[in-house]
């Protein structure tokens, strides 16, 4: 478990994002949520997820990308 | 049965289901502990341990910026029971909670009954009435502190055109708490209405058909079918409303800061003021512990008397 402190500090770094830094922690949260929702709506048949859940899954993926790239957008902010 | 079709759907899938790996695991406690463990760990570490910490702080004369905090035992609690402002806050909060339970819950039930008639436009009505629940307390309190302005607020302007008296709302100690309660009911009634509406949809129609055949009029049907069957829903609504109303804080903080002459002090606001404004965190934590005991007692009593089982 030697790399636990490394994992800890890296994971914590994700929890904070400065003024114009990419929100890595946020992207991870959106990815986890997207993975869960997409898994439930496409892989688990019994859920017979309606369109809202499926669209929601992809929306979360889009948010993950947005969270990562939006702070680094070229135009001035 | 509202969810009977989903039950049938699951059974159909189950029969065609072929488990393709080792025999079912035995019904030992381990798997249940594994399931409940994450949540219990989380709320113990994040809520219970800090609450025990708050109790420990309440045994000290804890001034946030001081370096050492002398142990004082139960002095904070003794001072608390002799403090008139604490009793004011307790009476105000109990009154507010009673108003919510006595007015908010019946109105919500009434609206739910009307919406259950499946008139045209039900979706619009339920969305509109639910709108206040969706916005945050800070925003709603800001908007209403303008509407309540005695001189140029919208409410008094409307009352004026109809010739009704124009009360001072938040400016007078007689009507301040009532104004906050009125606004809170306006914001919260949609929440209870939606829960009641769902409860009504859960009642099977064949009960009503049988009653109509026996010639039961509208009131008898309501009295002898709807109300008893709604018991678990009302239990859920009253418990949530009770717990929620004892947390009265944001409206008081934004609109009146305790209101004219302690008339809108709530327990959590008094806790916040003592702990974060007046530097007596020990005394404030004692207030919090007493509040916890009161509401915890009330919810246990409520659960014992009402119980959450239903007889068909």
């Amino acid at each position: 478990m030697a790399h636990l402190p490394l994992l800890l500090s890296v994971a914590l770094k994700l929890g904070y994002a400065g003024e114009n830094q990419p929100i890595v922690g946020g992207a991870l949260v959106f990815l986890a949520a997207a993975a869960g929702v997409l898994y439930l709506s496409f892989v688990r048949e019994e859920m017979d997820a309606g369109p809202a859940l499926k669209v929601g899954g992809f929306l979360l993926l889009a948010l993950a990308v947005l969270a990562y790239f939006w702070p680094m957008r070229p135009w001035p902010h | 049965m509202a969810q009977s079709q989903s039950l049938r759907r699951i059974r159909r899938q189950l029969t065609g289901y072929v488990p393709d790996f080792a025999t079912a695991s035995s019904e030992d406690d381990l798997s249940w502990y594994l399931i409940v463990f994450p949540k219990v760990l989380l709320f113990s570490v994040v809520l219970l341990v800090p609450f025990v910490g708050a109790f420990w702080i309440s045994l000290h004369q804890w001034e946030p910026l001081a370096t050492q905090h002398p142990f004082v035992g139960l002095d904070n609690y003794v001072a608390l029971f002799r403090d008139p402002i604490f009793w004011d806050a307790l009476v105000n909060t109990a009154g507010y909670s009673l108003a919510l339970i006595a007015i908010d819950v019946p109105i919500a039930l009434g609206l739910a009954l009307l919406l259950n008639m499946n008139l045209r436009g039900t979706k619009f009505y339920s969305a509109a009435i639910f709108l206040p629940v969706v916005t945050s307390w800070v925003v709603v309190s800001l908007i209403w502190s303008w509407l309540y302005n005695p001189q140029y607020g919208l409410i008094n302007a409307a009352l004026g055109t109809v010739g009704l008296p124009q009360p001072d709302w938040l400016q007078s100690s007689k009507t301040a708490l009532a104004s906050i309660a009125l606004m809170s009911i306006w914001k919260h009634v949609g929440f209870n209405m939606v829960i009641f509406l769902a409860g009504l949809k859960g009642i099977p129609d064949d009960f009503y058909e049988a009653a109509i055949i026996d010639g039961a009029n509208r009131w008898q049907r309501f009295r002898y079918i709807t109300l008893p069957l709604l018991k678990p829903t009302s239990f859920f609504v009253v418990v949530v409303t009770l717990i929620f109303s004892f947390r009265l804080y944001t409206q008081v903080y934004v609109m009146t800061q305790g209101g004219p002459v302690h008339s809108t002090y709530s327990i959590v606001f008094y806790f916040w003021e003592q702990g974060f404004q007046q530097f007596n965190m020990g005394y404030a934590s004692a207030i919090a512990v007493v509040l916890f005991l009161i509401v915890f007692g009330l919810s246990i009593v409520q659960q014992r008397t009402w119980g959450d089982t239903v007889e068909y």
Binding site: L12, G15, A17, E19, I23, G26, F30, R44, E46, G50 | L7, R11, T23, A24, D29, S31, W32, I35, K39, V40, L42, F43, V46, L47, L48, P50, F51, G53, P64, G110, L111, L114, M117, L119, F124, A127, A128, I129, L131, V133, V134, T135, W137, V139, Y152, L154, A198, G199, G202, P232, F236, I243, F246, R247, W272, V295, F296, S299, D308, T309
Partner: protein, 279 residues
């Protein structure tokens, strides 16, 4: 007899529509007023207070609030915190609710009393001890510290327990006979059945977390990390609040939550039916 019934029916329906219309109007008027006030230029908000419809409506306040404050970042922060809390709340609360409803293990009633106990603790009360705890973990000023308080909220567990009580035990026996472990019964049978309850718990949690104010303010240090509600709180100065921008930000803050509610309204309604219907 037929004519009587229809006139009585007609009258009753008219009355119902009347009451529902007034209730809806009362619910919407304050927001309509706030929307109209937010269209007035900043220095005219008070001087033209009596005029409800602004004579020179302008979107200046919306533009200013967007340019002068990191509103885009605040909205993103709110989304990160809210989506994170909703996801983990649904994940953990359904598990705990299922265990408390259908589980057979020693200490179940103790855990249930603990749930009721923590449900009753007002969040403001644990702020200082929790701040000290978070600081020991070096978590202050991170998303995780904000989220953890709202994920720990046992309201979802209480609600899911109510819901899972309505599932007849016969169904679980059937699943056990087919060789599902406790966890598999959960994912195979319980989750699909709980879909509506999941959506209502999801919307309730989304609304509560979206409105979070005091805890994020205390635990976060950097203005760029603030969720939207705390950002709006910053627009109220001690002596000079920028009312125009404040109202504009308030309207913008209400839109995502309203969208979440309208999106989930169908399953939302069905969901509470099951949890509230039978206890």
């Amino acid at each position: 007899m037929k004519l009587e019934r229809s006139r009585g029916d007609y009258l009753r329906k008219g009355l119902a529509h009347g009451i529902l219309l007034t209730a809806s109007a009362l619910a919407i008027i304050p927001f309509a007023w706030a929307l109209l006030a937010s269209l007035k230029p900043e220095n005219k908000i008070f001087t033209t207070i009596f005029r409800i419809i602004p004579e020179d409506p302008t979107f200046a306040n919306y533009v200013n609030v967007w340019l002068q404050n990191p509103l885009d970042r605040w909205i993103l922060n709110s989304l990160v915190i809210t989506v994170g809390v909703v996801y983990f709340t649904l994940l953990l609360d359904t598990l705990a609710g299922y265990a408390l409803a259908k589980g057979k293990f020693r200490g179940k009633s103790l855990v249930y009393t603990l749930v009721i106990g923590t449900l009753v603790i007002p969040p403001q009360v644990v702020l200082v001890p929790l701040y000290i705890e978070m600081n020991m973990l070096n978590w202050s000023n991170t998303y995780w510290a904000v989220m953890v308080l709202y994920i720990a909220n046992p309201f979802g567990t209480f609600m899911m327990r109510q819901f899972f009580l309505t599932i007849p035990d016969s169904l679980i026996e059937a699943a056990r006979m087919d060789g599902c472990s406790t966890l598999q019964t959960y994912t195979r049978i319980m989750l699909p059945l709980a879909k509506p309850a999941l959506s209502s718990l999801g919307v309730f949690t989304f609304i509560f977390t979206w409105g979070a104010f005091l805890w994020p303010l205390i635990i976060l240090d950097d203005g760029a990390m603030y969720p939207l509600q705390v950002g709006i709180g910053l627009l109220t100065g001690r002596y000079s609040s920028q009312w125009g921008q404040l109202l504009a930000a308030a309207i913008l803050a209400a839109l995502p939550v309203l969208a979440a509610y309208l999106l989930a309204q169908r399953t939302f309604m069905e969901g509470i039916a099951l949890s509230g219907g039978k206890g």
